[in-house]
Amino acid sequence: MQAIEWGDFWIILAVCAVTILACRTLPLMLLKGRELPEKVSQVLGYIPPATFAALVANDLLTPGMFSAGIWPAAAPLVAALIVVVVAKFTKSLLWCAIAGVAAYALLTLVLV
């Protein structure tokens, strides 16, 4: 592998920084302060549950994940269920993160 040079670094950083900045700021700056139709406000309300579910699925689900046997692939799913229980009881992001990492570490390092 060739180490990355400053020239290549600047190209990658500049383009990626501009595209992400546009995605982050344009919708908000264009919509801010406008009277939105009820339909649009309703759609905005569905963005959080839909994106959180998509992020969870993106982390937990991979096609062919069970092809190497049930257990290694089931470990993150079991850890996820534990986090669901902790979330229901504590509603705390911090406790969920701690419980999730501990459960996942135990399930993958100790039990396999």
Binding site: A17, R24, L28, I47, F52, A53, A97
Partner: protein
């Protein structure tokens, strides 16, 4: 809220994100170091680009020998999901000055969007609070990636385990959403959508497409509910 209280409340809200970013920021810096990025380059990336997924993808794709154009295209595609957060947060910024709104929008991540959305809903939470959460989170990320680049591969953090901190945060954000049939439809359809995207080889855009499918399902669900 006084200034001091605002800072304290924001720091408290940002704490889970900050700890999570230490856990994945250090491995990200280590990985960056392995393709020859210096601590200064890590700092520039974390300040100007600030994307966990992106900053892992760049070294991984470079190691795999991908051409620069395809690295840029893939990383930019993955980050298009930011448009959903930006759209969702727009009404919160209605009475906020343009400069602050821009700075707030420019520093949103998956995690800080989630935490701030949760706080805005349970209120009282201001854009000032939310921006501070973003700044604290980004500081933690920037420092952690720099530390990772400086220590190189001196310590091994199992990344799959560290990154489960983020997964856990997303799970908590999901299950603390209001339980309505529209939200349930949104969540299930989004998960199925992500899986189908991955099956179809569209993993780069899976989060964005999956979320849009989820939003569409929720709208369909609310329409059916009205008719019945």
């Amino acid at each position: 809220m006084s200034g001091k209280d605002t800072v304290r409340a924001s720091l408290k809200a940002a704490l889970p994100i900050m700890l999570g970013y230490v856990a994945i920021g250090i491995p990200c810096g280590i990985l960056s170091d392995s393709i020859g990025l210096s601590w200064l380059q890590c700092l520039l990336m974390s300040m100007l680009f600030y994307s966990g997924a992106g900053q892992f993808m760049i070294p991984n794709m470079w190691l795999a020998g991908s051409p620069i154009a395809s690295i840029i295209a893939s990383v930019s595609l993955v980050n298009t999901r930011q448009m959903l957060y930006s759209t969702s947060l727009a009404p919160r910024c209605n009475n906020v000055k343009r400069g602050l709104a821009f700075f707030f929008a420019a520093t949103v991540t998956d995690e800080s969007f989630g935490v701030n959305t949760m706080r805005f809903e349970s209120g009282p939470w201001t854009v000032q609070n939310a921006t501070l959460v973003n700044v604290f989170s980004q500081s933690s990320w920037a420092i952690s990636t720099v530390v990772g680049a400086l220590i190189g591969s001196a310590i091994g953090i199992p990344l799959a385990i560290a990154s489960f901190a983020m997964t856990s945060i997303f799970i908590c954000l999901l299950v603390t959403q209001k339980i309505s049939k529209e939200n349930i439809a949104a969540a299930i359809a989004a998960m199925v959508g992500v899986y189908i995207c991955k099956l179809a080889g569209l993993s780069g855009a899976a989060i964005l497409i999956g979320a849009i499918i989820g939003i569409a399902a929720a709208m369909a669900c609310s329409k059916i509910g009205k008719r019945a």
